[in-house]
């Protein structure tokens, strides 16, 4: 039963930490939180479960919710509204056993109608060093999607997002936000397990400028026929107040990322760094 709108509005006015605490008291947890029940959802009539056909692995604050919605709009894709786009199932296995039972449970999170494909987009996967090996075991044939964004802008947006959700501003929070921008380093871990042709690397900036073209490329990559969603240009979760970064700190961050961006270009020459305000042209 849905609570009345006044109650929902009042709830939204609470601080993120208070909201979480209340939800936890009634047994509601998000997939990224300790306490979430990973028992797979029941299959609907005519549905079957199996390995995901595609997995979005990054990046946080790269417009992935928007892009996932556009993919899910395709009639050839199954996406159930009661299942979060970010399954986060593999996030838990840094040190826990991961065997056939866990693989089967993971597959249980991907119900699909006959003749359709399905998948997930957990943008944190890219930065978790243990995920590539597990994904290769649980879904070796999955097509991998990544949307990249100017790493300094991603850092600013990612940090702002974490703080807005109630994270404390500590050195660990900062370090996590910085580390997620070393794209080449993170992608290399996945390239150890998956062939290059299983990757589609997009740029947020290009998707924002020409979504139709980039979406066509995405559908083709997923083996889907052409399709045009009603609403194309609707970035989600990309606004909000941003953390202030001093100009000299921006330069230090740019210098910090430059070698990784260079490595990224060596791996994926189609990346256009002229779209990234802090890099402009190729650092090479």
């Amino acid at each position: 039963m849905r609570p009345p709108s006044a109650a929902r509005a009042a709830f939204r006015r609470l601080s993120p930490r208070t909201r979480s605490a209340l939800l936890h008291r009634i047994g509601r947890f998000a997939p990224w939180e300790d306490g979430f029940d990973f028992t797979p959802p029941a299959l609907g009539a005519g549905e079957s479960a199996g390995a995901p056909d595609f997995v979005g692995i990054g990046v946080q604050k790269g417009g992935t919710s928007w892009w996932y919605e556009l993919i899910a709009d395709h009639p050839g894709v199954t996406s159930r509204t009661d299942i979060h786009k970010e399954r986060h199932y593999l996030s838990r296995f840094g040190i826990e056993p991961f065997g056939d039972t866990e693989v089967e449970t993971y597959h249980g999170w991907f119900p699909r109608r006959a003749g359709t494909i399905t998948g997930e987009w957990t943008p944190d996967y890219l930065g978790y060093p243990w995920v590539a090996g597990l994904l290769a075991r649980a879904a070796p044939g999955a097509k991998l999607l990544v949307i990249l964004r100017d790493p300094v802008e991603r850092f600013r947006s990612g940090l702002s997002f974490r703080l807005s959700l109630g994270a404390f501003a500590t050195e660990a929070t900062l370090a996590d936000a910085v580390r997620q921008g070393f794209y080449a380093k993170c992608l290399r871990r996945f390239l150890d397990y998956f062939p290059m042709e299983q990757f589609l690397v997009l740029q947020y900036e290009r998707c924002a400028v020409d979504p139709a073209h980039e979406l066509d490329a995405t559908y083709r990559f997923l083996g889907l026929p052409e399709h045009r969603p009603d609403h194309l240009s609707r970035p989600i979760n990309v606004s909000g107040e941003k953390v202030a970064i001093k100009q000299d700190a921006i330069q230090r961050l740019t210098d910090l990322y430059a070698p990784d961006v260079e490595d990224l270009l060596a791996l994926f020459p189609h990346i256009d760094t002229s779209l990234w305000p802090n890099f402009g042209t190729s650092p090479a």
């Binding site: 979480s20 939180e33 300790d34 996030s91 838990r92 243990w130 404390f168 501003a169 910090l256």
Partner: protein, 292 residues
């Protein structure tokens, strides 16, 4: 002591079991409302301590940059026991000053402020040991600007052991972002990448890499090596030299053999990189990586 200080200290001293009824995030929230911050938290006062009569200030002569869970507190206190070292009660071993400048300006004023954290008596040297510095990608450059001549100490431990201990220590904070919490503990073990970053700014001769396991097995020899590296008389012997085995008191999850194999896979390339940079590294202390 004000009631605010007393209450904040009480919160700080609560048993880890207290999180069952008073979650860590809410305790932290309350502590911040009382104006108390830990040194690695945004909001802490970075003003240096007052200089006492006869003291001088300047850049640190040595900086321990890592790593957490490798016995750095034990080793710092052995270093600090030397009569040629200045330490002062009330100034923590881990200044964490540079942790705060990922997004802030760092110019001459901040460099001077950092130096203010290192009072020393004439004829002695002084320094700090902030074990998270190595894992914070922005610190090496700042340290090279603020203390280009500092000798750097890096005390390492088998990355798989370090990961397990790190996870166990921070398990009460894992609630809101489980994966990020685990990733943070894992990232701190990529020593090769961390040292590589440091060596972009400091010559190899300015860095001493120690191994926890070696220090436990032969603390006398390793301490003498440390003293020599710092330019101190190596014949000094602290009265109590054995390790403080605080980790053993914590409940450490038993690692699943399959998970350990996966961890070896995650760390193997980095350990190889580390060994190439540190010829003295003895991988026989880290049996999972001994075969290269």
């Amino acid at each position: 002591m004000t009631w605010r200080t007393a209450l904040a200290d009480g919160l700080h001293g609560l048993s880890p079991r207290a999180h069952l009824v008073f979650p860590s995030e809410q305790r932290t929230d309350l502590r911040h409302r009382l104006g108390r911050y830990r040194r690695w938290e945004d909001g802490v006062d970075l003003s240096p301590p007052l200089r006492r009569a006869g003291e001088m200030i300047g850049p640190p002569d040595f900086v321990g940059i890592g790593v957490m869970m490798a016995g750095v507190r034990w080793w710092y206190h052995l270093v600090a026991d030397h009569p040629g070292i200045s330490t002062r009660g009330g100034i923590p071993m881990d200044r964490h000053f540079l942790s705060h400048f990922a997004t802030r300006s760092f110019g001459a004023e901040q460099v001077a402020q950092y130096h203010g954290w290192f009072p020393r008596r004439p004829g002695t040297i002084t320094g700090e040991w902030s074990p998270s510095y190595a894992a914070l990608p922005w610190v090496a450059e700042l340290l090279a600007r603020a203390a280009p001549d500092a000798r750097l100490l890096l005390l390492l431990r088998n990355p798989i052991e370090r990961f397990r201990l790190g996870l166990a220590q921070s398990s009460e904070n894992r609630g809101s972002q489980v994966g990020t919490h685990v990733a943070d503990a894992m990232e701190r073990g990529f020593y090769g990448a961390q040292l590589g970053r440091v060596l972009e700014f400091f010559p190899a001769g300015q860095v001493l890499v120690l191994q926890h396991e070696c220090c436990v097995a032969d603390p006398v020899a390793q301490l003498a090596l440390t003293y020599r590296f710092l330019g101190l008389d190596d014949s000094h012997r602290p009265p109590r030299i054995g390790p403080r085995n605080v980790e053993a008191e914590r409940s450490i999850p038993t690692a699943d053999p399959d998970a350990v194999r996966r961890l070896v896979g995650v760390y193997a390339g980095d350990v190889k990189e580390l060994a190439a940079m540190v010829p003295s590294l003895d991988l026989s202390w880290w049996p999972e990586f001994a075969d290269g």
